[in-house]
């Protein structure tokens, strides 16, 4: 028997996390023209930050000697489980802190990264950011205190003390959806504002925008701060949800998945990004359910997914290069202007 509620919570949780990534990617790449092929770098950085804060800090505050029982060992994990079930206030407090820290640190990381890439063409930008993802992964592998190749386990889910897995999952889902809603509202408002207009003008023709007085590098850097920050938060949410991080989780394939989401939905609209995330996470969550497929297929169904997604993406791009949902001028401006036109004529 399939556990429907459990499946729904699980799917929607993945959806919320990926939708944050997709919405921010549509803002930075679809609308502002920063070709971010390194989305996973910011996602992964946020996840690792979340993992570090939610384990090391938690242990340290609770008086466990992190040198003797670091969180990537069995003793550390046992201590973490104990603390997270006994001390709700502390767990929630540390979790909130980790969200804030990963927003700021990842955001600043993104902001600094724009310095070398902001003047060059989109191909160079995409490539450089792609490298950043791989470089960070190489660093995680070489860092002993985050568990090296094996990564870390036992990152406490902040609502675990509720005792009932379903309930704590639901609480966490609510929290994630709230953050997604916040991301969406911010993105949507930016799109409908003069800033959104400026961003689209920069994407269309950055040289003309520069000649029209827009400080293109600065505007892009600021937007990249914002979107990277939100991606970092998504990473923290992810790390605490699956309770573990390891370098294999943050491969370029993740970036590619998020790109597929915004392409299916139409890369210029945040609603499209959300719909894309909904569809692709559903596919992704259903595939493991069909585990019986394993017996009939002579190969791992995991390999089929990227091929499948890649095919959808390529076909969509060839048939509808602007995505399935295309952007219209912001409604507010349109109605206000129409009113004024009526007055004028």
């Amino acid at each position: 028997m399939i556990d429907i509620t459990g499946f729904l919570i699980n799917w929607l949780e993945y959806f919320a996390i990926y939708a944050i990534l997709a919405v921010t990617l549509s803002l930075e790449s679809g609308i502002s023209g920063i070709t971010n092929f390194g989305k996973v770098a910011f996602f992964g950085l946020g996840a690792y930050l979340g993992a570090i804060i939610n384990t090391y800090l938690l242990l340290a505050i609770s008086g466990v000697d992190v040198v003797k029982a670091p969180p990537y060992t069995a003793e550390g994990v046992i201590a973490l489980i104990e603390i997270s079930t006994l001390n709700p206030a502390l767990v929630l407090g540390v979790f909130t802190l980790s969200i804030l820290v990963s927003f700021i640190v990842t955001g600043v990381f993104g902001y600094l990264l724009t310095y070398p890439i902001i003047r060059v063409g989109s191909g160079f930008v995409g490539f450089t950011l792609l490298c950043v993802g791989e470089v960070l992964r190489g660093i995680y592998v070489n860092m002993e205190f985050v568990g090296g190749t094996n990564g870390m386990l036992g990152i406490p889910q902040p609502f675990i003390w509720l005792g009932i897995p379903m309930l704590s999952g639901l609480c966490y889902l609510l929290l994630s959806v709230t953050i997604l809603a916040l991301t969406y509202i911010v993105t949507d408002r930016i799109l409908g504002s003069p800033l959104g207009r400026t961003l689209r003008s920069i994407r269309d023709d950055d040289i003309a925008a520069l000649c029209l007085g827009k400080d293109v590098p600065k505007i892009k850097s600021k937007i990249f701060f914002l979107t990277s920050g939100f991606s970092g938060v998504a990473g923290t949410l992810y790390a605490c949800y699956v309770s573990s991080v390891n370098p294999q989780m943050f491969v370029t394939l993740v970036t590619f998945n998020v790109w597929a989401m915004i392409i299916i939905g139409g890369s210029e609209s945040p609603i499209g990004a959300i719909i894309g995330a909904l569809i692709l996470t559903l596919i992704e969550r259903i595939l493991p359910l069909i585990a019986s497929l394993n017996e009939y297929l002579p190969f791992t169904p995991d390999y089929l997914r990227p091929v499948f997604i890649g095919l959808i993406m390529t076909i969509v791009l060839i048939k509808y290069p602007r995505g399935l949902i295309s952007m219209k001028p912001p409604k507010f401006i349109k109605s206000a202007v129409e009113e004024l036109i009526r007055e004028a004529s």
Partner: protein
């Protein structure tokens, strides 16, 4: 002229080489404030390149560009294009560069610099920028109405005729509250009536705001009726300058245009 002339812009011995090829050679021009100045010359004589240098698009290989900001002259060569724009020098492009995913009205609305709603913090709170936005919309509609082009307000550049694209490119420049406008062939492709109207509009703006125009144009007949003073470029060098009728009669200029 009895009143003493104030200058707003001057280039001093500006030269520009592209990979060793000399495109401009020691060009010095001075632009009086409140004037409408023509810049003419055969194809490839370096007019657009001079604009590119004044607006920070290119850095001159030699020489300097001076601009009067408030009461003193500053050197503006080497500044970035957007910084020069903020000194209120605005240019239009010879080959129109409209933003293709913005409607005509949005293209006009992009231009004004330093809009309140352009910062992230204000953008998310629409009350902070609504008022300003409405005023800008009114202004843009006013300009479009003047050319009987209200119906294209919501069209995308791809849906416009070539002449309309050119017109919008120029009008977009005129949306900015500039002190110095550099218009690169604003009349190209326009029908006679619209061209006239545009020139009249330019004069009107000049008379009411005391701003300055430099206009590159190949339609010399129309241009000469409007401008106060003309510079002629030929093969990257300043060939002649003077009042329109003087320049037209200058044998060197005639020779440059007609050929040997």
């Amino acid at each position: 002229m009895s009143k003493e002339v104030r200058h707003i812009l001057a280039t001093r011995n500006v030269s520009k080489y592209f990979e060793g090829v000399k495109v401009l050679e020691k060009v010095s021009i001075t632009i009086p404030e409140g004037g409408i100045i023509g810049l003419i010359g055969p194809n490839g004589s370096g007019k657009t390149t001079l604009f590119n240098i004044i607006t920070g698009f290119h850095v001159p290989s030699e020489g300097e560009v001076l601009y009067r900001a408030s009461n003193e002259f500053i050197r503006i060569d080497g500044l970035n294009p957007h910084e020069i724009y903020r000194l209120r020098i605005v240019r239009t492009f010879q080959l129109p560069r409209l933003f293709h995913s913005l409607t005509v009205i949005e293209n006009l609305l992009v231009t004004p610099v330093g809009q309140r709603g352009e910062s992230i913090l204000n953008a998310v709170r629409w009350r902070t920028w609504l008022e300003e936005e409405k005023n800008l919309v009114k202004k843009a509609l006013g300009i479009l109405a003047m050319f009987n082009k209200l119906e294209i307000a919501f069209k995308y550049p791809a849906q416009l005729s070539v002449a309309d694209i050119k017109l919008v490119e120029t009008l977009r420049g005129l949306m900015a509250n500039a002190r110095l406008y550099l218009l690169d062939e604003p009349l190209a492709g326009l029908d006679f009536a619209t061209a006239r109207r545009l020139l009249n509009f330019i004069k009107e703006i000049r008379n009411s705001y005391n701003v300055t125009f430099i206009i590159i144009e190949h339609r010399i007949d129309l241009l000469m009726e409007t401008v106060d003073y003309v510079y002629v470029l030929h093969n990257g060098r300043l060939l002649a300058s003077g009042k329109p009728d003087e320049v037209i009669q200058n044998p060197d200029v005639v020779k440059a245009y007609v050929g040997e």
